[in-house]
Protein backbone atom coordinates (compact mmCIF):
# COMPACT_ATOMS: atom_id res chain seq x y z
CA UNK A 1 0.00 0.00 0.00
CA UNK A 2 2.71 2.38 1.09
CA UNK A 3 4.79 1.39 -1.91
CA UNK A 4 1.98 2.19 -4.29
CA UNK A 5 1.43 5.59 -2.70
CA UNK A 6 5.12 6.38 -2.89
CA UNK A 7 5.48 5.26 -6.46
CA UNK A 8 2.36 7.23 -7.30
CA UNK A 9 3.93 10.30 -5.78
CA UNK A 10 7.08 9.87 -7.82
CA UNK A 11 5.01 9.26 -10.90
CA UNK A 12 3.15 12.53 -10.35
CA UNK A 13 6.35 14.34 -9.64
CA UNK A 14 8.01 13.01 -12.78
CA UNK A 15 4.97 13.95 -14.86
CA UNK A 16 4.87 17.45 -13.47
CA UNK A 17 8.59 17.85 -14.01
CA UNK A 18 8.29 16.54 -17.56
CA UNK A 19 5.47 18.94 -18.35
CA UNK A 20 7.16 21.90 -16.71
CA UNK A 21 10.65 21.42 -18.11
CA UNK A 22 11.17 18.91 -20.88
CA UNK A 23 8.04 18.90 -23.03
CA UNK A 24 8.25 21.18 -26.08
CA UNK A 25 11.78 22.15 -24.96
CA UNK A 26 10.36 24.36 -22.20
CA UNK A 27 13.71 24.43 -20.42
CA UNK A 28 14.75 26.92 -23.08
CA UNK A 29 12.20 29.37 -21.69
CA UNK A 30 13.82 29.15 -18.24
CA UNK A 31 17.28 29.51 -19.69
CA UNK A 32 16.28 32.61 -21.61
CA UNK A 33 14.64 34.00 -18.49
CA UNK A 34 17.70 33.18 -16.42
CA UNK A 35 19.90 34.95 -18.94
CA UNK A 36 17.74 38.06 -18.69
CA UNK A 37 17.77 37.95 -14.88
CA UNK A 38 21.54 37.58 -14.82
CA UNK A 39 22.04 40.33 -17.39
CA UNK A 40 19.84 42.77 -15.50
CA UNK A 41 21.50 41.86 -12.20
CA UNK A 42 25.08 42.18 -13.41
CA UNK A 43 24.46 45.48 -15.19
CA UNK A 44 22.51 46.79 -12.21
CA UNK A 45 25.31 45.81 -9.85
CA UNK A 46 27.87 47.65 -11.96
CA UNK A 47 25.70 50.74 -12.31
CA UNK A 48 24.68 50.64 -8.65
CA UNK A 49 28.24 50.29 -7.37
CA UNK A 50 29.48 53.13 -9.57
CA UNK A 51 26.67 55.45 -8.45
CA UNK A 52 27.00 54.35 -4.85
CA UNK A 53 30.74 54.96 -4.77
CA UNK A 54 30.46 58.46 -6.23
CA UNK A 55 27.52 59.45 -4.01
CA UNK A 56 29.26 58.09 -0.90
CA UNK A 57 32.49 59.97 -1.62
CA UNK A 58 30.56 63.18 -2.32
CA UNK A 59 28.65 62.80 0.94
CA UNK A 60 31.78 62.20 2.99
CA UNK A 61 33.77 64.93 1.24
CA UNK A 62 31.00 67.50 1.58
CA UNK A 63 30.79 66.93 5.30
CA UNK A 64 34.26 68.52 5.48
CA UNK A 65 33.97 70.98 2.62
CA UNK A 66 31.08 73.40 2.98
CA UNK A 67 31.44 74.53 -0.64
CA UNK A 68 29.98 71.23 -1.83
CA UNK A 69 26.63 71.74 -0.14
CA UNK A 70 24.63 71.71 -3.38
CA UNK A 71 26.09 68.34 -4.38
CA UNK A 72 25.43 67.09 -0.88
CA UNK A 73 21.80 68.18 -1.04
CA UNK A 74 21.38 66.47 -4.40
CA UNK A 75 22.85 63.23 -3.10
CA UNK A 76 20.66 63.34 -0.02
CA UNK A 77 17.60 63.90 -2.17
CA UNK A 78 18.57 60.92 -4.30
CA UNK A 79 19.05 58.50 -1.42
CA UNK A 80 15.94 59.74 0.39
CA UNK A 81 13.62 59.39 -2.63
CA UNK A 82 15.02 56.08 -3.84
CA UNK A 83 15.08 54.45 -0.44
CA UNK A 84 11.67 55.81 0.46
CA UNK A 85 9.74 54.50 -2.55
CA UNK A 86 9.08 50.93 -3.75
CA UNK A 87 11.31 49.59 -6.49
CA UNK A 88 8.28 48.44 -8.50
CA UNK A 89 6.87 51.95 -8.67
CA UNK A 90 10.31 53.29 -9.64
CA UNK A 91 10.49 50.67 -12.35
CA UNK A 92 7.09 51.66 -13.76
CA UNK A 93 7.92 55.37 -13.64
CA UNK A 94 11.25 54.99 -15.38
CA UNK A 95 9.82 52.60 -17.92
CA UNK A 96 6.97 54.95 -18.82
CA UNK A 97 9.34 57.91 -18.89
CA UNK A 98 11.46 56.34 -21.63
CA UNK A 99 8.81 54.21 -23.25
CA UNK A 100 7.94 57.13 -25.50
CA UNK A 101 10.89 56.09 -27.64
CA UNK A 102 9.73 53.33 -29.98
CA UNK A 103 12.61 50.90 -29.77
CA UNK A 104 13.13 50.84 -26.02
CA UNK A 105 15.18 47.92 -24.82
CA UNK A 106 13.32 46.76 -21.71
CA UNK A 107 16.31 44.88 -20.38
CA UNK A 108 18.47 48.00 -20.42
CA UNK A 109 15.68 50.03 -18.83
CA UNK A 110 15.34 47.40 -16.12
CA UNK A 111 19.08 47.28 -15.51
CA UNK A 112 19.32 51.08 -15.28
CA UNK A 113 16.37 51.25 -12.93
CA UNK A 114 17.65 48.54 -10.61
CA UNK A 115 21.10 50.14 -10.80
CA UNK A 116 19.75 53.51 -9.75
CA UNK A 117 17.78 51.83 -6.99
CA UNK A 118 20.69 49.80 -5.72
CA UNK A 119 23.03 52.80 -5.91
CA UNK A 120 21.15 54.53 -3.09
CA UNK A 121 21.60 51.58 -0.76
CA UNK A 122 25.20 50.97 -1.83
CA UNK A 123 25.97 54.66 -1.24
CA UNK A 124 24.80 54.46 2.36
CA UNK A 125 26.73 51.23 2.91
CA UNK A 126 29.95 52.66 1.45
CA UNK A 127 29.55 55.93 3.35
CA UNK A 128 29.29 54.02 6.61
CA UNK A 129 32.33 52.00 5.55
CA UNK A 130 34.40 55.09 4.77
CA UNK A 131 33.44 56.67 8.08
CA UNK A 132 34.48 53.52 9.92
CA UNK A 133 38.09 53.99 8.75
CA UNK A 134 40.25 55.79 11.30
CA UNK A 135 40.68 59.53 10.67
CA UNK A 136 44.44 59.14 11.00
CA UNK A 137 44.53 57.13 7.77
CA UNK A 138 43.38 60.13 5.76
CA UNK A 139 45.91 62.33 7.53
CA UNK A 140 48.72 59.85 6.89
CA UNK A 141 47.82 59.67 3.21
CA UNK A 142 47.61 63.43 2.83
CA UNK A 143 50.86 63.98 4.73
CA UNK A 144 52.67 61.79 2.18
CA UNK A 145 51.53 64.09 -0.62
CA UNK A 146 48.45 62.26 -1.92
CA UNK A 147 45.49 64.42 -2.81
CA UNK A 148 42.03 63.66 -1.42
CA UNK A 149 40.91 61.38 -4.25
CA UNK A 150 44.21 59.45 -4.29
CA UNK A 151 44.03 58.92 -0.54
CA UNK A 152 40.48 57.66 -0.91
CA UNK A 153 41.49 55.33 -3.72
CA UNK A 154 44.67 53.80 -2.30
CA UNK A 155 44.07 53.96 1.43
CA UNK A 156 40.50 54.62 2.58
CA UNK A 157 38.30 52.75 0.07
CA UNK A 158 40.24 49.45 0.23
CA UNK A 159 39.84 49.42 4.00
CA UNK A 160 36.22 50.51 3.78
CA UNK A 161 35.40 47.75 1.28
CA UNK A 162 36.83 45.19 3.66
CA UNK A 163 34.62 46.48 6.46
CA UNK A 164 31.45 46.55 4.38
CA UNK A 165 31.84 43.36 2.38
CA UNK A 166 29.13 41.50 4.33
CA UNK A 167 26.64 44.38 3.94
CA UNK A 168 27.52 44.76 0.29
CA UNK A 169 27.02 41.04 -0.30
CA UNK A 170 23.63 41.30 1.32
CA UNK A 171 22.72 44.12 -1.03
CA UNK A 172 23.78 42.00 -4.04
CA UNK A 173 21.54 39.17 -2.91
CA UNK A 174 18.61 41.52 -2.36
CA UNK A 175 19.18 43.02 -5.79
CA UNK A 176 19.11 39.68 -7.59
CA UNK A 177 15.90 38.73 -5.85
CA UNK A 178 14.31 42.11 -6.49
CA UNK A 179 14.83 41.79 -10.24
CA UNK A 180 11.97 39.29 -10.11
CA UNK A 181 9.53 42.22 -10.36
CA UNK A 182 11.07 43.24 -13.68
CA UNK A 183 8.20 41.39 -15.34
CA UNK A 184 5.96 44.44 -14.89
CA UNK A 185 7.79 46.24 -17.67
CA UNK A 186 7.39 43.45 -20.19
CA UNK A 187 10.76 41.88 -19.51
CA UNK A 188 10.72 38.08 -19.62
CA UNK A 189 13.02 37.33 -16.73
CA UNK A 190 13.23 34.06 -14.83
CA UNK A 191 10.08 34.69 -12.81
CA UNK A 192 8.06 35.77 -15.80
CA UNK A 193 9.29 32.76 -17.79
CA UNK A 194 8.12 30.46 -15.01
CA UNK A 195 4.72 32.12 -15.04
CA UNK A 196 4.43 31.67 -18.81
CA UNK A 197 5.24 28.00 -18.59
CA UNK A 198 2.73 27.60 -15.78
CA UNK A 199 0.01 29.26 -17.85
CA UNK A 200 0.69 26.90 -20.75
CA UNK A 201 0.77 23.67 -18.73
CA UNK A 202 -2.12 24.68 -16.44
CA UNK A 203 0.04 23.61 -13.56
CA UNK A 204 1.34 26.79 -11.97
CA UNK A 205 3.40 25.54 -9.07
CA UNK A 206 6.18 23.35 -10.54
CA UNK A 207 7.65 26.10 -12.74
CA UNK A 208 7.63 28.45 -9.75
CA UNK A 209 9.42 25.89 -7.60
CA UNK A 210 12.00 25.60 -10.29
CA UNK A 211 12.43 29.38 -10.53
CA UNK A 212 12.79 29.55 -6.75
CA UNK A 213 15.49 26.90 -6.89
CA UNK A 214 17.35 28.89 -9.55
CA UNK A 215 17.30 32.04 -7.37
CA UNK A 216 18.49 30.02 -4.41
CA UNK A 217 21.42 28.60 -6.37
CA UNK A 218 22.42 32.08 -7.54
CA UNK A 219 22.29 33.68 -4.10
CA UNK A 220 24.09 30.74 -2.49
CA UNK A 221 26.77 31.04 -5.17
CA UNK A 222 27.23 34.71 -4.38
CA UNK A 223 27.40 33.98 -0.67
CA UNK A 224 30.19 31.49 -1.30
CA UNK A 225 32.13 33.86 -3.55
CA UNK A 226 31.84 36.63 -0.96
CA UNK A 227 33.02 34.35 1.82
CA UNK A 228 36.08 33.60 -0.26
CA UNK A 229 36.83 37.30 -0.77
CA UNK A 230 36.25 38.09 2.87
CA UNK A 231 38.79 35.45 3.84
CA UNK A 232 41.31 36.84 1.39
CA UNK A 233 40.83 40.45 2.41
CA UNK A 234 41.22 39.83 6.10
CA UNK A 235 44.75 38.50 5.54
CA UNK A 236 46.26 41.45 7.35
CA UNK A 237 44.21 40.78 10.47
CA UNK A 238 44.62 37.24 11.65
CA UNK A 239 48.20 36.56 12.50
Amino acid sequence: MKGILLSGFFQNFADAFYKAVIKDQRYLAYLDGLKVTLLISVLAILIGTAIGLVVAVVKVASSQNKKMWILNKLCNLYTTVIRGTPVMVQLLIIYNLVFTARDTNEIIVGAVCFGINSGAYVAEIIRAGIESVDRGQMEAGRSLGFNYIQTMRFIIIPQAIKNILPALGNELIVLIKETSVAGVIAVTDLTKAAQYVGSVTWDVLPPLYLAAACYLVMTLGITKILEYFERRMTQGDNH
Binding site: E139, A140, S143, L144, P158, G236, D237
Partner: protein, 240 residues
Protein backbone atom coordinates in the same frame (compact mmCIF):
# COMPACT_ATOMS: atom_id res chain seq x y z
CA UNK B 1 63.12 76.83 5.59
CA UNK B 2 59.82 77.21 7.45
CA UNK B 3 58.56 80.62 8.45
CA UNK B 4 55.32 81.32 10.26
CA UNK B 5 53.96 84.85 10.43
CA UNK B 6 51.37 85.64 13.06
CA UNK B 7 49.97 82.11 12.74
CA UNK B 8 46.49 81.76 14.20
CA UNK B 9 44.05 78.89 14.47
CA UNK B 10 40.60 78.72 15.99
CA UNK B 11 38.27 75.79 16.34
CA UNK B 12 34.85 77.38 16.40
CA UNK B 13 35.08 80.07 19.04
CA UNK B 14 38.09 78.49 20.71
CA UNK B 15 41.31 80.20 19.70
CA UNK B 16 44.12 77.67 20.00
CA UNK B 17 46.98 79.55 18.32
CA UNK B 18 47.21 83.26 19.03
CA UNK B 19 49.84 84.49 16.66
CA UNK B 20 53.06 82.49 16.35
CA UNK B 21 56.08 83.97 14.59
CA UNK B 22 58.77 81.40 14.03
CA UNK B 23 61.67 80.82 11.72
CA UNK B 24 63.00 77.29 11.39
CA UNK B 25 66.32 77.00 9.56
CA UNK B 26 67.63 74.09 7.54
CA UNK B 27 69.36 71.55 9.80
CA UNK B 28 67.72 72.79 12.99
CA UNK B 29 66.19 70.35 15.43
CA UNK B 30 63.38 72.24 17.06
CA UNK B 31 61.65 70.57 19.98
CA UNK B 32 58.29 71.92 21.07
CA UNK B 33 57.09 71.30 24.58
CA UNK B 34 54.17 72.57 26.59
CA UNK B 35 51.20 71.46 28.66
CA UNK B 36 48.39 69.54 26.95
CA UNK B 37 45.90 71.78 25.24
CA UNK B 38 48.55 74.45 24.78
CA UNK B 39 48.36 74.28 20.98
CA UNK B 40 51.73 72.65 20.34
CA UNK B 41 50.32 69.78 18.27
CA UNK B 42 48.04 72.18 16.40
CA UNK B 43 51.05 74.32 15.57
CA UNK B 44 52.91 71.31 14.17
CA UNK B 45 49.89 70.14 12.19
CA UNK B 46 49.49 73.61 10.71
CA UNK B 47 53.00 73.42 9.25
CA UNK B 48 51.89 70.91 6.61
CA UNK B 49 48.33 72.20 6.57
CA UNK B 50 46.71 69.16 8.16
CA UNK B 51 45.04 71.93 10.11
CA UNK B 52 44.14 74.97 8.09
CA UNK B 53 45.21 78.16 9.85
CA UNK B 54 42.52 80.78 10.37
CA UNK B 55 45.02 83.62 10.24
CA UNK B 56 48.62 84.45 9.37
CA UNK B 57 50.97 82.89 6.86
CA UNK B 58 53.25 79.88 6.58
CA UNK B 59 56.18 79.83 4.19
CA UNK B 60 58.00 76.65 3.24
CA UNK B 61 61.11 76.79 1.05
CA UNK B 62 60.04 80.12 -0.37
CA UNK B 63 56.40 79.16 -1.03
CA UNK B 64 53.48 80.64 0.82
CA UNK B 65 51.61 77.43 1.60
CA UNK B 66 48.65 79.27 3.11
CA UNK B 67 48.05 80.82 -0.32
CA UNK B 68 45.14 79.08 -2.05
CA UNK B 69 47.06 78.82 -5.32
CA UNK B 70 49.89 76.75 -3.83
CA UNK B 71 49.92 73.03 -4.60
CA UNK B 72 50.07 71.77 -1.03
CA UNK B 73 50.23 68.12 -2.14
CA UNK B 74 53.50 68.79 -3.92
CA UNK B 75 54.98 70.54 -0.88
CA UNK B 76 53.79 67.87 1.54
CA UNK B 77 55.99 65.40 -0.35
CA UNK B 78 58.94 67.30 1.08
CA UNK B 79 57.55 67.33 4.64
CA UNK B 80 57.56 63.93 6.29
CA UNK B 81 55.18 63.46 9.18
CA UNK B 82 55.16 60.93 11.99
CA UNK B 83 52.03 60.54 14.08
CA UNK B 84 51.36 59.58 17.66
CA UNK B 85 49.12 56.71 16.51
CA UNK B 86 51.58 55.58 13.76
CA UNK B 87 48.79 55.49 11.16
CA UNK B 88 50.34 52.69 9.16
CA UNK B 89 48.07 51.34 6.41
CA UNK B 90 46.75 48.09 7.90
CA UNK B 91 45.72 46.56 4.58
CA UNK B 92 49.27 46.64 3.21
CA UNK B 93 52.49 44.90 4.07
CA UNK B 94 55.30 46.90 5.60
CA UNK B 95 57.05 47.13 2.25
CA UNK B 96 53.88 48.28 0.50
CA UNK B 97 53.38 50.90 3.20
CA UNK B 98 56.79 52.32 2.37
CA UNK B 99 56.62 52.08 -1.42
CA UNK B 100 53.02 53.23 -1.96
CA UNK B 101 53.62 56.98 -2.04
CA UNK B 102 56.91 57.07 -4.00
CA UNK B 103 55.50 54.75 -6.68
CA UNK B 104 52.00 56.18 -7.03
CA UNK B 105 53.21 59.77 -6.95
CA UNK B 106 55.65 58.96 -9.73
CA UNK B 107 58.81 59.75 -7.79
CA UNK B 108 60.42 56.34 -8.26
CA UNK B 109 59.56 53.25 -10.24
CA UNK B 110 58.59 50.12 -8.38
CA UNK B 111 62.04 48.55 -8.56
CA UNK B 112 63.87 51.61 -7.23
CA UNK B 113 61.38 52.16 -4.47
CA UNK B 114 61.52 48.54 -3.32
CA UNK B 115 65.28 48.76 -3.16
CA UNK B 116 64.98 51.99 -1.22
CA UNK B 117 62.38 50.41 1.09
CA UNK B 118 64.74 47.56 1.94
CA UNK B 119 67.54 50.04 2.61
CA UNK B 120 65.27 52.04 4.89
CA UNK B 121 64.12 48.91 6.68
CA UNK B 122 67.73 48.03 7.34
CA UNK B 123 68.33 51.52 8.61
CA UNK B 124 65.46 51.34 11.08
CA UNK B 125 66.64 47.88 12.08
CA UNK B 126 63.67 45.88 10.77
CA UNK B 127 64.79 44.32 7.46
CA UNK B 128 63.06 41.03 8.26
CA UNK B 129 59.62 42.64 8.55
CA UNK B 130 59.20 43.65 4.89
CA UNK B 131 56.46 41.16 4.08
CA UNK B 132 54.58 41.37 7.36
CA UNK B 133 51.45 43.34 8.12
CA UNK B 134 51.35 46.20 10.67
CA UNK B 135 49.15 44.13 13.03
CA UNK B 136 52.07 41.74 13.52
CA UNK B 137 54.39 44.48 14.83
CA UNK B 138 54.91 45.97 18.27
CA UNK B 139 54.23 49.65 18.84
CA UNK B 140 57.88 50.60 18.68
CA UNK B 141 58.35 48.65 15.46
CA UNK B 142 55.27 50.30 13.96
CA UNK B 143 56.63 53.73 14.71
CA UNK B 144 60.01 52.89 13.21
CA UNK B 145 58.22 51.70 10.06
CA UNK B 146 56.20 54.92 10.04
CA UNK B 147 59.45 56.87 10.14
CA UNK B 148 60.82 54.76 7.29
CA UNK B 149 57.65 55.44 5.31
CA UNK B 150 58.07 59.17 5.73
CA UNK B 151 61.77 58.98 4.83
CA UNK B 152 60.97 57.11 1.61
CA UNK B 153 59.82 60.41 0.12
CA UNK B 154 63.24 61.99 0.75
CA UNK B 155 61.71 64.82 2.78
CA UNK B 156 63.54 68.05 3.54
CA UNK B 157 62.00 68.27 6.99
CA UNK B 158 60.47 65.74 9.37
CA UNK B 159 57.57 66.64 11.63
CA UNK B 160 57.02 64.45 14.69
CA UNK B 161 53.72 64.70 16.54
CA UNK B 162 54.32 63.11 19.95
CA UNK B 163 55.92 60.04 18.34
CA UNK B 164 56.44 58.15 21.60
CA UNK B 165 53.29 59.05 23.54
CA UNK B 166 51.34 55.96 22.47
CA UNK B 167 54.18 53.55 23.16
CA UNK B 168 54.81 51.19 26.03
CA UNK B 169 57.64 52.66 28.12
CA UNK B 170 60.08 49.93 27.13
CA UNK B 171 59.64 50.77 23.45
CA UNK B 172 60.21 54.49 23.73
CA UNK B 173 63.98 54.07 23.65
CA UNK B 174 64.22 52.39 20.24
CA UNK B 175 62.19 55.15 18.58
CA UNK B 176 64.10 57.98 20.25
CA UNK B 177 67.37 56.29 19.30
CA UNK B 178 66.32 56.24 15.65
CA UNK B 179 65.29 59.89 15.83
CA UNK B 180 68.67 60.77 17.33
CA UNK B 181 70.42 59.05 14.44
CA UNK B 182 68.29 61.01 12.00
CA UNK B 183 69.20 64.22 13.77
CA UNK B 184 72.89 63.36 13.65
CA UNK B 185 72.63 62.85 9.89
CA UNK B 186 71.56 66.45 9.55
CA UNK B 187 67.81 66.07 9.02
CA UNK B 188 65.77 69.16 9.80
CA UNK B 189 63.32 68.15 12.50
CA UNK B 190 60.39 69.66 14.34
CA UNK B 191 59.36 67.48 17.26
CA UNK B 192 56.45 67.81 19.64
CA UNK B 193 57.23 65.60 22.62
CA UNK B 194 57.12 65.13 26.35
CA UNK B 195 60.53 63.45 26.37
CA UNK B 196 62.67 66.02 28.18
CA UNK B 197 65.77 63.85 27.92
CA UNK B 198 65.46 63.80 24.16
CA UNK B 199 64.90 67.56 24.06
CA UNK B 200 68.01 68.16 26.16
CA UNK B 201 70.20 65.89 24.12
CA UNK B 202 69.06 66.43 20.54
CA UNK B 203 67.40 69.83 20.23
CA UNK B 204 69.23 72.83 18.85
CA UNK B 205 66.37 74.96 20.12
CA UNK B 206 63.41 74.38 22.39
CA UNK B 207 60.10 76.21 22.16
CA UNK B 208 57.71 76.40 25.09
CA UNK B 209 54.18 76.88 23.81
CA UNK B 210 51.40 77.74 26.22
CA UNK B 211 47.99 79.31 25.67
CA UNK B 212 48.62 79.48 21.95
CA UNK B 213 51.81 81.52 21.98
CA UNK B 214 55.52 80.79 22.25
CA UNK B 215 56.16 81.84 25.83
CA UNK B 216 59.85 81.14 25.76
CA UNK B 217 62.53 79.66 23.55
CA UNK B 218 66.19 78.97 24.01
CA UNK B 219 69.02 76.51 23.59
CA UNK B 220 68.46 73.35 25.66
CA UNK B 221 71.06 74.32 28.25
CA UNK B 222 69.65 77.78 28.92
CA UNK B 223 66.10 76.53 28.57
CA UNK B 224 66.34 73.99 31.35
CA UNK B 225 68.90 75.72 33.59
CA UNK B 226 67.72 79.26 33.34
CA UNK B 227 64.01 79.55 32.52
CA UNK B 228 62.45 82.98 32.81
CA UNK B 229 58.75 82.60 32.11
CA UNK B 230 56.86 81.79 35.33
CA UNK B 231 54.57 79.33 33.55
CA UNK B 232 57.62 77.51 32.14
CA UNK B 233 59.23 77.35 35.57
CA UNK B 234 56.09 75.81 36.96
CA UNK B 235 55.87 73.36 34.04
CA UNK B 236 59.49 72.28 34.36
CA UNK B 237 59.19 71.81 38.10
CA UNK B 238 56.37 69.34 37.46
CA UNK B 239 57.91 67.31 34.64
CA UNK B 240 61.56 67.15 35.65
Amino acid sequence: MIITKDLQKSFGGNQVLRGINEHIEKGEKVVIIGPSGSGKSTFLRCLNLLEEPTGGEIWFEGNNITDKGTDINKLRQKMGMVFQQFNLFPHMTVKENITLAPVQLGIMNREESEKKALELLKRVGLPEKAEQYPKQLSGGQKQRIAIARALAMNPDVMLFDEPTSALDPEMVGEVLELMKELADEGMTMVVVTHEMGFAKEVATRILFIDEGVVKEQNTPKEFFENPHDPRLKEFLSKVL
